[in-house]
Each structure stands twice: as structure tokens, then as C-alpha cells.
Amino acid sequence: MIEKISVKQFAMLAFVNLIGTSIIFIPTVAANYGEQNAWIIVLVTTFVGIFVVLMYTLLFLKNKGTNIYSLIEKLLGKKLGLLIILIFMSYVFLNISANLWTVTQFISVQILVGTPSTVVIFMNISTAVIAVRSGIEVLTRTAEVFFPFIVLSLILLCVMVLPEVRIENVLPILKSNKLNLFLGGISILSFTFLELVILLGIMDDVDEKEKLNKYFLIGSIPASLMITFITLLCILVLGVEPTSDYTYPIYVLGQKINIASFIQRIEGIGAFIWFFTNFFKICTSLYVLMKGIKHITKTKDDKIWTIPISYLIFSCAYNGYNSTFYDFDHTTYVPITIIVGFFIPLLLFIVSFIKKNSNTFNKT
């Protein structure tokens, strides 16, 4: 049975994937680079993001909606293709394990102090493996069930923290280091839109591909705006320095909620948003990774790979980042994301353009 997801479900996945880890890191990263103007950087990246998304969908649609892996192979040939596929897959792998590591870190620092992180990773990865083994349909539908709750929590969080806003915190507007704004923009872009390159892997499961363009934007742009708004709120409520100092500003934002001394202490809402978006992000990436392995090894049953690979991810998420965490973000993750998320699609785009032109040239 060929499993298909609807284009709306795809938009939803895009939303969840974009919100994923970024909602907890972007405020910090942005405030580091842009201080008061952090939200402006995020807003600008949203506009740049439109082009990134368009590039992805165009790349996909121009090549008649083939799977990303066969697309790479078709455009770049067997050997170079394999290399690029391997780089792409290793990036996806890195993404999964890094996401898993961060969510585990969060849980063992904020929610379950004292529980060994092994157990938390184990629970997370087992659930993700069950989800991926049940197939993309079950995965997206699960996301669909939780989606309204995620959006509702986001809105609730934003609305309830509004009384704590202090406008002075964002002043002065646009008086900051310009180079920092640029670098910050690139970092943020790679934490948000460039990560969506992974979604190229599930685009061929969508049933109305011609609408992808529109719905990809519908999914990702609001998500990015949401992140902008959360960043703005973090700065408005917490101030610049705390936003850039706290590891999990959104959680602190939740702690700030106090309406009539009655609705208070509901920081769990932030944990809820983050845990679920991150979980679906891990699942999507894992699914794409499985697809890649299936493509390379040409096995009929891709489920056989889930368990060994999950062991690898487990091990990476367990202590892979401990030694590298503090500079991992901008020295490793961002460059790799730029390569995989921007240069590889660009390369594919150019190659497909040249090939098409030469084809038409040959014909005429």
C-alpha cells in the first residue's frame, strides 16, 4: 500500500519542523547577535526564507516530483550522487541526534532532574522508532492530532505573557552592529529554513504535488513569524541580557505568566510545545533517513534498519555532543547546515537547469 499524505498535512509538518528546536534556541541566538533588534533579524530571515522554500519546491517540482535521493542520483550521476546522498544523510543523522540531545538535555535539566539522560533518550528514541515504523501516514496523523494543541499552547503562551511586556526593552530600534546582524541572520536561517531541506525527503509522499509551493509557504512562514513573535516577547518581557543568557528563554517566559495570581506556574506549556514539535521533527528526519538507507541498500523492507540506526542515534545523543556543545552550534552545525541546506540544493538546481537547457538544445 502506497502511503500518501495530503498537502495540508505537509504544510503542518513544515510548521512543526520549523518550530521544532528553533523556538527554544532562536531567541537566545538572535539576542546574542542582535540584542534589542533580535526580532528584526528573525523577521528578515522570514523573508529570506520565502526564497529558500521556493528554491526547494521548485527544485522538486521541476524534476517531476521525484524522490530527493533518486533526484540527486539522476542529476549528478552514480558516484558523485552517492557522495552527496551520503553527505545529506549524515546531515539528517546529525540533525536527529542533535535534536534528541537538546531535548534530552532540556528534560534532564528542567523537568526530570536526577533521571539519567540515557533513560530519557531511550524513551524518546523508542517512541520515535515506533512512529517511523508505523509509516508516514500514522506519523503525520499523529502530528495532526497534536497540531491544534501545539498552536493553541503557542497562542496561549503569547497572550498570557502579554501583561508582562515592557516596551522600553526593545529600544533603540536598529542601532547595532551591522555585521552581527548579517551573521546572526545566517545562523538563524540555518536553524530555521535551511533545516527544512530534510522535508525534500517526504515531498514525494504528498498527493497533490502541484500545490506544494503554496502549502510549503503556508506552513513555514507562519511558523517563522511565530518564532519572531516569541523572540520579540522574550526581549519585551525578559530583557536582552537574560534572553541571551538563559539556555531556555521560552521556559522562563512561561514562568513569567501570572494572571490574577491564579493562572501561574504553567511553564509546562513551554515544555509541551517544545517536546512535541521536537518529537515530530525527530520522527520526520528519521523517516527521511530510513528512506535514504532504503534507497542506497535497495532492501525491500526498510524497517530492518530502524533499530540499528536508532542505536547509533542513541549513542550519539548520549555523549556525542558533551565535548563539543558550547561551540558546536556556530562552528559546526551552522556551516554544515549551510552546505547541505543551501549549497547542495543550489548545485542541484543549477545542474537541473543546465541539463534541461542542453536537452532542449539537443532537441532543436
Binding site: 517512541t127 501516514e137 500514522v138 495532526e144 491564579f262 511553564e267
Partner: protein
């Protein structure tokens, strides 16, 4: 019938003889000379040479029919001449009975005859004929009349409920849908019980795939006995290892009629008032037939209330455990102080306390169902007083836990469908364990697993969570909302 034939082929066939008394003896022996078999011998001619033997089971037949129709027809209505003719050509008896609108069939084998007797028909032999005849004389003295429903009560709406008789049940539905497209098909299932199973649907509205699917699943059943629709349910449901019911059962004819009108298939089983309805979706368990008789805004609010009850009964104890043992920082200070004061000196951890109380409650509930109504109320007094009051005063359980458990208990009775409440109760224990081990994180994981399971479930090919995931905008008018009926422009198929 074909089903039976297939089985009986293996048996040894005893042929009928032309002697009626001998035939009677054969049948008597085949039935173990059971006490409830009655036979009457009548001579059909003046000379008392040709005799006719009637055989039937006392409790299954309508004595009136036998007395008034079968016997009188032979004794009074027939004149001497006819009697003679009958003796010569017994075939005509059939036509005589048919004249008096009693169906008479000619049966060749012993097995067929036995089956006819067991069905409540009257069988007779005539000397000189190697075949028997059966007359429909089924009388349903065993069944009760249509009474008020006991499990799914409504304030507004029809009060009648199905009975144990399948004919009555089908008739109750047909009374509501007077449409030539309401088709019903019959099957006999169970090599020992030969239970009649009828499935009914509205032709043209129902999808033909669904009909073939039901047909196929029903014919795959190979079992000795079908005593209740639950037996059928176990055979035809999509997924055995799931706490969620994938087949709906109800004893309300209006619910079945509504389901049929929506394009679903009802399965009636003889001998039980519980009629099955397939396919069923998750949302149906949060809906009551009454929703459609109430004002739409009230019905909508009631549905929200039930959805809330779903979450409450599933999660309240586990959230309580998670908050009090893991996330005390999320409880407002003053509340936490009073909780802490209540827990002072209580020997069990919160989890132990919760499990203890939940199990006690389940015991009470089970005991309350089994007992007669008069003693049932005594149980509730014992439960409320002894367990609620005394345990708290003895310092074994905290007062808050009693509140939590009673809240859960009340919420789990809100669902219109009883079996759905059971599955929620089972899952609750799983959630409690997860919460006791991982706090909120465990609850998150549990929710993910449950939802993943739910979206993977199918009921006769339909995704279980249908209007929610996959999302269907049109179906939202009747999922969590119940918009006025005229908003639903036309009757829709369930998919």
C-alpha cells in the same frame, strides 16, 4: 444453510423409511430421546391404517398454531374424500397447508428435519412416504416485549430498546426507515448454535466495498457457537490487540437507524439485544443519540463536556501523581501547602495511594453492577462512607486523592457508550505508571503512544480518528460541534 450442509456431509446419512413410526424413532434417537420432544400420531384415514406423526419441541412452537391450524386443518377442514386422496398422494398435504398459509416444505434428510425441529418447526411423516414435511410453527414464548432501554438512557428521544428476538429487532429498525433501499441479508453462523445473523444497510448510501467487506468477514467466521453479538464482534473487528472498540454496539433502535442512514451497516444477532454497527469512529463514542434531539448549541456543549471528561478520566490521577511527586514547582504555593499538609503521615507514595483507590473504585463499580439494585445502593453507601470518609480519617489516603479518584470515576461514566469507558479506565492505569516513573514527560510519551495507536487503527477500512486525523473540514459540522441539521446539506457517506 450452505454452511450447515458442508459440515453435515461428513456425517453418516440415515435415510427415511416409508414407515412413519420408524422415522419418528430415528429422530427420537438422534435427539437423545430428549424429554421436551413431543409427538402426536394421527390417523388420516378411516381405517386407521395410514397414520401421520407430528414431531415438535414443546417450548419452541406456538401451541395455538399447532392446535388451531395444523391439527384442525387435517381433522375438520378435510373431508373424507380428501383424506383418502391425501393418503394416496401425500404431496397434496403441502398444498393444503399452503392454502391455509402455513408453509410446508418437503425435506429429505434426517439432518434437515432435525434442524427444522430445533428451529421450532413442526415436522410430520406420513406412512408410505420416504420424505418428511415441515411446517412453520415457531412461536416465541421465550422473548420479552419491547421494553425501555437500560444501558443508554436518554432524557429526550425514543425509549424503546431491542429485544432478544432478531425479527423484532429488524422490525424496530424498519419501522423507522420505510425505504425500499433498506436491504437486509441473512446468515447462519455457528455449527452448534446455528445463530441467525442479519446485516442491514441502506443501499445506495452505503459504499459497496463496505458491504463486500462485511459479507466477507462474516463468512470467514468458523465457530461452534455464537451466543451474543460480542462473539461476532471479536471475529470481525480489525484489531484484536487494542483497548479501543472498533465495532459499536447499542440497544437503541434509533441509534442503529441513524447509523444506517449515515451509510453504515448494522449487524443483528439473534438472541441478544445488542446490535452492532460498523464502521465506527472514535468520535461516535463521544456522541449520544440524544445529541440530535436536543438543541444544537446544547448538544455541542455536551459534546465538549464529554471530550473534557475523556481527558479528565484518562489523565487526572496521572497528572496528580506527576505534579505532586515530580513537579511541585508547578503547583501554586498555597495549594501545595494544603496538599503537603494532607499528605503528612500518609504511609503510601502518591502512586500507591492512587492505585489503591482506583482499584477499590473498580471493585465497587463491578460489585455495584452485579448486585441487585436494592443492594447496589448499599454498596455505594459503603463506598462513599467507609472508603471515602474512613480512609481519610484513618490517615491512609489523603483527602485530595479521594477527590481525584471520584472525579475520575464520575468522568468515566459520562460516555454514552459503556465499553468505551472501560478502555479509558484500562489506559488510566498505564498513564499512572508512566507518570509515577517519568512525571509529565511520561505522560507526554504515553499520549504520543496512544495517539499513534489510534491513528493507526482502522475500523472496516476507515481511519479511526477520521474527521480529526486525517482532517476533514466538512465532517467538522458533526464532530465536536453539532451544527443544526439543515447545515448538513446532504446525507454523507462516512468517508
Amino acid at each position: 444453510m450452505s454452511f450447515f450442509q458442508k459440515k453435515s456431509d461428513k456425517k453418516q446419512n440415515i435415510n427415511l423409511t416409508s414407515n412413519a413410526a420408524e422415522n419418528k424413532q430415528v429422530i427420537y434417537q438422534a435427539l437423545g430421546e430428549s424429554a421436551d420432544i413431543t409427538s402426536r400420531t394421527i390417523s388420516v384415514d378411516k381405517q386407521n391404517q395410514i397414520s401421520m406423526v407430528l414431531l415438535y419441541i414443546n417450548g419452541l412452537v406456538d401451541q395455538k398454531i399447532i392446535q388451531n391450524m395444523v391439527l384442525e386443518t387435517l381433522m375438520i377442514e378435510m373431508d373424507e374424500q380428501t383424506k383418502q386422496e391425501v393418503a394416496q398422494t401425500p404431496k397434496d398435504i403441502q398444498s393444503i397447508y399452503q392454502e391455509f398459509s402455513l408453509i410446508a416444505e418437503e425435506l429429505q434428510t434426517i439432518e434437515e428435519l432435525i434442524l427444522a425441529i430445533l428451529n421450532g418447526d413442526t415436522v410430520f411423516f406420513i406412512d408410505g412416504k420416504t420424505s418428511g414435511f415441515s411446517i412453520k410453527t415457531q412461536g416465541d414464548q421465550t422473548s420479552r416485549g419491547v421494553q425501555q432501554t437500560t444501558t443508554q438512557q436518554v432524557v429526550r428521544g425514543p425509549k424503546d430498546s431491542f429485544t432478544e428476538s432478531i425479527d423484532t429487532n429488524v422490525a424496530l429498525v424498519r419501522k423507522r426507515i420505510k425505504d425500499p433501499n433498506l436491504w437486509s441479508k441473512k446468515k447462519v453462523i455457528g455449527s452448534k448454535t446455528h445463530t441467525t445473523v442479519v446485516y442491514a444497510y441502506l443501499n445506495g448510501v452505503v459504499s459497496s466495498d463496505l458491504v463486500t467487506e462485511v459479507e466477507e468477514r462474516l463468512s470467514k467466521i468458523e465457530v461452534n457457537s455464537i451466543l451474543e453479538s460480542g462473539n461476532i464482534e471479536e471475529f470481525i473487528q480489525d484489531e484484536t490487540y487494542t483497548p479501543f472498540p472498533t465495532v459499536y454496539n447499542t440497544e437503541r433502535p434509533d441509534a442503529i437507524a441513524a447509523g444506517i442512514l449515515e451509510g453504515r451497516i448494522a449487524i443483528f444477532v439473534d438472541g441478544t439485544p445488542d446490535v452492532l454497527l460498523v464502521p465506527v469512529l472514535f468520535k461516535h463514542f463521544l456522541q449520544s443519540p440524544e445529541d440530535y434531539y436536543q438543541r444544537s448549541d446544547i448538544a455541542t456543549l455536551l459534546r465538549w463536556l464529554r471530550t473534557l471528561a475523556l481527558f479528565l478520566s484518562l489523565l487526572t490521577p496521572s497528572i496528580y501523581i506527576a505534579l505532586t511527586t515530580f513537579h511541585q514547582e508547578m503547583i501554586p504555593t498555597t495549594l501545595l501547602i494544603s496538599l503537603a499538609a494532607q499528605r503528612e503521615g500518609i504511609p503510601f507514595p502518591a502512586f500507591g495511594e492512587a492505585v489503591l483507590m482506583e482499584i477499590t473504585f473498580e471493585l465497587l463499580r463491578e460489585a455495584g453492577i452485579r448486585l441487585p439494585t436494592t443492594i447496589g445502593s448499599a454498596i455505594s453507601i459503603v463506598g462513599a462512607l467507609v472508603l471515602g470518609q474512613a480512609t481519610v480519617e484513618a490517615g491512609i489516603v489523603s483527602a485530595m486523592m479521594v477527590i481525584v479518584v471520584s472525579l475520575t470515576a464520575i468522568s468515566s461514566f459520562v460516555f454514552p457508550s459503556y465499553n468505551f469507558g472501560i478502555s479509558i479506565r484500562i489506559l488510566r492505569f498505564g498513564f499512572m505508571t508512566l507518570a509515577a516513573t517519568f512525571g509529565l514527560f511520561g505522560i507526554f510519551i504515553g499520549l504520543l503512544l496512544i495517539v499513534m495507536h489510534l491513528v493507526g487503527l482502522r475500523s472496516f477500512g476507515m481511519p479511526y480518528l477520521t474527521p480529526i486525523a486525517p482532517f476533514n473540514k466538512e465532517a467538522q459540522t458533526d464532530t465536536l460541534l453539532r451544527l443544526p441539521i439543515w447545515k448538513k446539506t446532504k446525507q454523507k457517506k462516512p468517508n
